[in-house]
Each structure stands twice: as structure tokens, then as C-alpha cells.
């Protein structure tokens, strides 16, 4: 994470902010489930802020689908497996070889994807991010920079993103307040 709040284009800055808010909200939600930090309001409001930030980012571009890296890697692996089987087969145009090659590709890719998904599990947790005052300070600063950039944009669609960010900036401090 760079220290320059004006670095990069607005869409990616917003998406990074959205990822951070989602991580904080998910963490707070899981802590609420196990009653480590019971608070059903905070994470819901963070999720509202995340929704608004995503709306704003969506005005700049469609963005990548979720798990895009996994999808592309899976497709690539599946195609590679199919190709290998076809090259190894004696008669590539025979129906069994063709069907095995085409059928095994996606299955192998899915096995790999499932293994990757199971592996990267972070066991450690620090203090909850939702209680971190610097999280709000830093995020507010970055979002305000994004709103300022969006407000002077030439495109009307992009200028509308400033309103979304404004709503996100209302939800964000509301998540922190303890009722």
C-alpha cells in the first residue's frame, strides 16, 4: 500500500479501499459469530460503506469478476491438461481420446482450484480492524481524495461517484460508534 493517496487511477484506489473494508467487515462479522466481539451493527454498517464504494468504483469500470485469478488459472490448467492428453494419445481424432482429454481438463482444474482455496488459511488474528482508529483515518483520507478527483471529472457518470463516496463516508464513521 503506497502512502500517496493520489497515486493510481480512481477506480483501483476505490477497489483497494473496498477490499480493505470488506476484510474488516468480514473479520468483525466472524468475531461477532463466535461472540468474541459481539456487535451486530458495526459490521453491517461497514458492509454498507463497502457497497457504496463498490457502486462508486462501478461507475468507472466493470472491474474484474471475483476470483478472476483463480478462474483464469483454472481455464489455463484445464486447457493445458487437455492438450497434453491429446499430444500423448496415439490417435488424437479417435473419439475416446478426444472425450477423455476434454473431460479431464475441467475436473483437474477444479481439483487444483479447490486445493488452492483450502491451502491459504491465515490462522493468526490480531486485534479487530474495526476498532482501529487509524483504519478509519487512513480510509477517510483516501476516499476523500477519490471523491475530490471524481468531482472534477469531465464525465457526468464519474462525477456521480462522488455522491456514492459521500454516502460511504457517512456509513464509515457510523460503524465505529458504540451504541
Amino acid at each position: 500500500m503506497t502512502d500517496n493517496v493520489f497515486g493510481g487511477d480512481v477506480e483501483h484506489r476505490l477497489r483497494r479501499a473496498s477490499d480493505r473494508v470488506r476484510a474488516a467487515a468480514g473479520d468483525a462479522q466472524a468475531r461477532d459469530w463466535v461472540a468474541e466481539r459481539p456487535d451486530r451493527v458495526g459490521f453491517a454498517r461497514l458492509a454498507q460503506a463497502e457497497f457504496e464504494i463498490n457502486q462508486a468504483a462501478g461507475r468507472f469500470g466493470a472491474g474484474l469478476p471475483p476470483h478472476w485469478l483463480r478462474t483464469i488459472a483454472g481455464t489455463f490448467v484445464g486447457a493445458a491438461v487437455s492438450l497434453t492428453i491429446l499430444l500423448a494419445a496415439r490417435d488424437a481424432a479417435s473419439l475416446p481420446a478426444l472425450l477423455v482429454a476434454i473431460g479431464v481438463g475441467p475436473v483437474v482444474a477444479q481439483v487444483l482450484v479447490a486445493m488452492i482455496g483450502r491451502r491459504n488459511r491465515r490462522a493468526t488474528t490480531g486485534p479487530p480492524v474495526i476498532d482501529d482508529p487509524y483504519f478509519y483515518g487512513d480510509l477517510t483520507r483516501r476516499l476523500e481524495a477519490c471523491a475530490a478527483a471524481a468531482r472534477v471529472d469531465r464525465s457526468e457518470k464519474h462525477r456521480a461517484a462522488a455522491d456514492d463516496i459521500g454516502r460511504a463516508l457517512v456509513w464509515l464513521p457510523a460503524a465505529r460508534r458504540e451504541d
Binding site: A30, A92, P106
Partner: protein
């Protein structure tokens, strides 16, 4: 994941949420107000999330639906192209391309049509009768929805298994497993709905001293 138990819990939550929606309609009618509109919208979305969570469709089901379709398309194309006397390379290439083109809509159909249908059916089968708490006014609604939420959270924890009751594991499961992603989304929507109704009630009491 213990299927039957989860479906029963989710069906109960769904019934409670539907009851909450009815109460909200009875108490406020079509009153056009930001917090109420948001709450109505969220309660509807909770229903969709629960249905999709009950369908239990994820990566494996997509592969299970997509691969047979792919194989059928590839076999048909291979037979046709070979009958037309294409060279080996073009037989393989055409079969592959057609297979991929057929697989994509089948995958999509699985998630957008089959998923809701399956979820609805499972929840309808596991339906249980829940008796909603007595006072049917708006002031009691947040508590009633909070009851539904408690039920949802216990269903989630039961589905995760008591070995995994650590925030790090649960957060990871939410990010990785489709069922948990949807359950967490349902929980978030429900909490947002409760929050909106509470905000509306707080604003109302402030206006009428």
C-alpha cells in the same frame, strides 16, 4: 456439512424473515421513507441469499453440470466433422471450441436457474412451523428479526462445526466456500435491515416527544 439440519434452520429463518416483512407492511404500508425502503429491500435480499445458500451449488456442481454437456457437444462435433472428412487437427479444434461454447451457458444456467429451484425445493421440504413472538407492532420488529438472526448464526456455527469456531477460520470459510459466502451475506443483510428499522424508530420517537 449436515444438510438436513441446515435446511431446517434456514427454513425457520426464512419463515421468520417473511413474517417480519409482513409485519413491516402491516405497520407502515407503502410509506415511502429511506430507512424503511432499505429495510424492505434488505429483507427481500435475505430471502434470495438463503435460497441460494440452501442450493449448495459451488465449483464442483458447476463442473458436474458443465463437463457432461461439454462431452456431448464434443462427441457430436467430432462425429460430424469426421464424417465431413476434416483433417485431425480441425476435428480436435472444432470439438474443443464447440465444447467450450456449449459449456458456458450450461454452467450459467446451473447457477441462475437450477440453483434457486433446488434451494426453494429443499427449504420447502424442510419447512417447519415457527411461532412468531406476540406483539405485532413496529417497535417489536427489531427484536423479532434479531431472533431470526440468532437462529441464522447458530445455523452457521453448526454448519461450520465446533472445531472451527475461530474468527480466522470462519472469515476464511466465508471468503472461500460459496455456501458460507451466501450465509454471511444473508446475515449482513438481516443486520442491515434491523439497523435501518431501529434508525427509523429512533427518528420517529425523536419527532414525537
Amino acid at each position: 456439512m449436515p444438510g438436513r439440519q441446515l435446511y431446517q434452520d434456514l427454513a425457520a429463518v426464512r419463515a421468520l424473515v417473511a413474517d417480519g416483512r409482513d409485519r413491516l407492511r402491516d405497520a407502515t404500508g407503502d410509506l415511502d421513507q429511506f430507512a424503511l425502503n432499505s429495510a424492505r429491500h434488505r429483507l427481500l435480499e435475505v430471502d434470495d441469499c438463503l435460497i441460494m445458500a440452501a442450493s449448495g451449488l459451488g465449483g464442483w456442481s458447476r463442473v458436474a453440470a458443465g463437463t457432461p454437456a461439454m462431452l456431448l457437444a464434443a462427441a457430436a462435433t467430432a462425429l460430424v466433422t469426421r464424417a465431413l472428412g476434416f483433417p485431425v487437427f480441425w476435428v480436435v479444434a472444432c470439438s474443443w471450441i464447440v465444447a467450450v461454447l456449449v459449456e458456458h451457458p450450461v454452467r450459467k444456467w446451473t447457477m441462475t436457474r437450477l440453483g434457486p429451484w433446488l434451494g426453494r425445493r429443499r427449504l420447502a421440504r424442510a419447512a417447519v412451523t415457527v411461532e412468531p413472538s406476540s406483539p405485532r407492532d413496529l417497535a417489536g420488529l427489531p427484536d423479532a428479526l434479531a431472533d431470526a438472526r440468532t437462529r441464522l448464526v447458530s445455523a452457521i456455527l453448526r454448519a461450520a462445526g465446533s472445531r472451527h469456531w475461530q474468527p480466522a477460520y470462519l472469515a476464511h470459510a466465508v471468503a472461500g466456500s460459496p455456501t458460507f459466502t451466501r450465509l454471511a451475506a444473508a446475515d449482513t443483510m438481516l443486520c442491515q435491515a434491523i439497523d435501518h428499522i431501529e434508525q427509523y424508530l429512533a427518528a420517529e420517537t425523536k419527532e414525537q416527544p
